[in-house]
Amino acid sequence: MSLNRIYGLFLRHFFLIKGSFPRILDLIYWPTIQIILWGFISKFFTIYSDYYNNTVGVILTCAILYDFLFRSSISFNMLFLEEIWSRNFTNLFIAPMRISEIITALVGTALIRTLIGLVPAILITSPLFGISILNLGIPLFFLFLSLYIFGITLGLFVSSGLLRYGPAFENIAWSSLFLLAPLGCIYYPIEILPDLFQDIAKGLPLVYIFEEARSILVNQVVNYSNLRDAFILNAIYLLIGISLFYYSFSQARKKGSLINIGE
């Protein structure tokens, strides 16, 4: 055993972490988000232990809906990351493709990727737990649509970062949705959050989407105002996301990140 060699290998990773703020952030980020999320979930069940008479059904349905959001966003990001990992990125941008064509192709492909993952999950919940997400009825379509639009929007935000900053932005791609999980009020009502967090959460379509899902599952009441609010917020974020993507492309052309993005 050579202490020098062991120290050498330690240094290889230490220098890497020391020189990369995203990596340091990533190390701090995950435990913090997990504690916040599970803290709010625990608080909710402590205070409102009798809130749900169908706890498993509500939790599982919300988990599937959240996973749909997660998959749609990650699918969008993955399509971008695949090009970076395979060093094919430059080939794509010297092909005569408009930005609008790139976005449309990614949106369509991400939907197919998402459905491939989601359909089996929906199918196994029924025989395993006796729960069907289809119990949400027609509003389920609007919930999925709203989640998909938000997932794509997040994908656009992250892809804009990848376009501008390259693979250094990769960790953000994976962690973006976990940041929103505590604020999105997926498993508990917004009232569980502290006042400051509630104000932030009201600016996210997720709060309205999951509030609507719980309203249907717990009270059997469809509240279309939640869906409307979610769609309005989605439209605003989507427009910002598309504009940001165009801006990042223009910045990448100025700074040269389209040339060496795979490096």
Binding site: P96, M97, R253, L258
Partner: protein, 244 residues
């Protein structure tokens, strides 16, 4: 002969560093122009601006009479690029990759085009193999097929024979020579292989520190500098430039 590409006072600054400084040159139809220079001299930056991947700080690139900055998409239909630093998706077969790029470039008869390129570039034996499983020489020929999928009138070749064995290198050079004549192409060839440049290029640009330090036909450059070959010219010019 008509000028396919006109580069006028092209400059690029990254932060406070001038990567390319007011360079001008032209490439005619059916001409292979060599771009020589040490690593980091601005060759890739120049090619990137000509491909519309990078916005110039100053100057213009006119291709077939149109400014690349204003007509990027329509001009990209007529151009293509090969570099050892970019690859095709490894998990896709050669045929799948060529179909994808055929679609991206709007090629109408993709199957026929793939068949033609497969024969010309000897891809048939591995056309259904995953690109990641190919040898360097095979990958290089596939990249060349991708670069020719849209029948470009302008081709940018960045070290097209780097890391190839002599036989494959010679095959690629002969192919480039042949196809440029047959298809009346304008080619910009960046290479560190001086014999390759001498064999293929009518004219050569020597770059260092972002500027063109000399240009001419390979024979004239050799004669002008009183050297035996292009490599000696390259070394003399770069050493002089670095000292000054």
């Amino acid at each position: 002969m008509q000028k396919s590409i006109i580069v006028e006072n092209l400059s690029k600054n990254y932060f406070n560093k001038e990567a390319v400084k007011e360079i001008s040159f032209t490439i005619k139809e059916n001409e292979i122009l060599g771009l020589l220079g040490p690593n980091g001299c601005g060759k890739t930056t120049t090619i990137a601006m000509m491909l519309g991947l990078l916005e110039p700080t100053k100057g213009k690139v006119i291709i077939h009479g149109q400014d690349i900055e204003k007509n990027r998409i329509s001009l990209l239909h007529k151009m293509n690029f090969i570099s050892p630093y970019i690859e095709l998706p490894k998990k896709l077969t050669v045929r799948e990759n060529l179909i994808v790029y055929g679609k991206l470039y709007g090629v109408k008869l993709i199957s026929e085009r793939i068949k033609y390129l497969s024969e010309k570039l000897r891809l048939n034996e591995f056309i259904n193999t995953k690109t990641g499983e190919l040898s360097s020489g095979q990958k290089n020929r596939v990249s060349l097929a991708k670069a020719l999928i849209n029948e470009p009138s302008i081709l940018f070749l960045d070290e097209p024979t780097a890391s190839l064995d002599p036989e494959t290198g010679d095959f690629v050079r002969s192919f480039i020579e042949k196809i440029s004549k047959e298809k009346n192409m304008s080619i910009l060839l960046a290479s560190h292989n001086m014999n390759e440049v001498k064999r293929l290029c009518k004219n050569v640009l020597m770059m260092n520190n972002g500027v063109i330090i000399d240009q001419g036909t390979p024979d004239n450059l050799i004669k002008k500098h009183g050297k035996r070959n292009l490599e000696e010219v390259f070394l003399k010019l770069n050493r002089n430039n670095n000292e000054s």
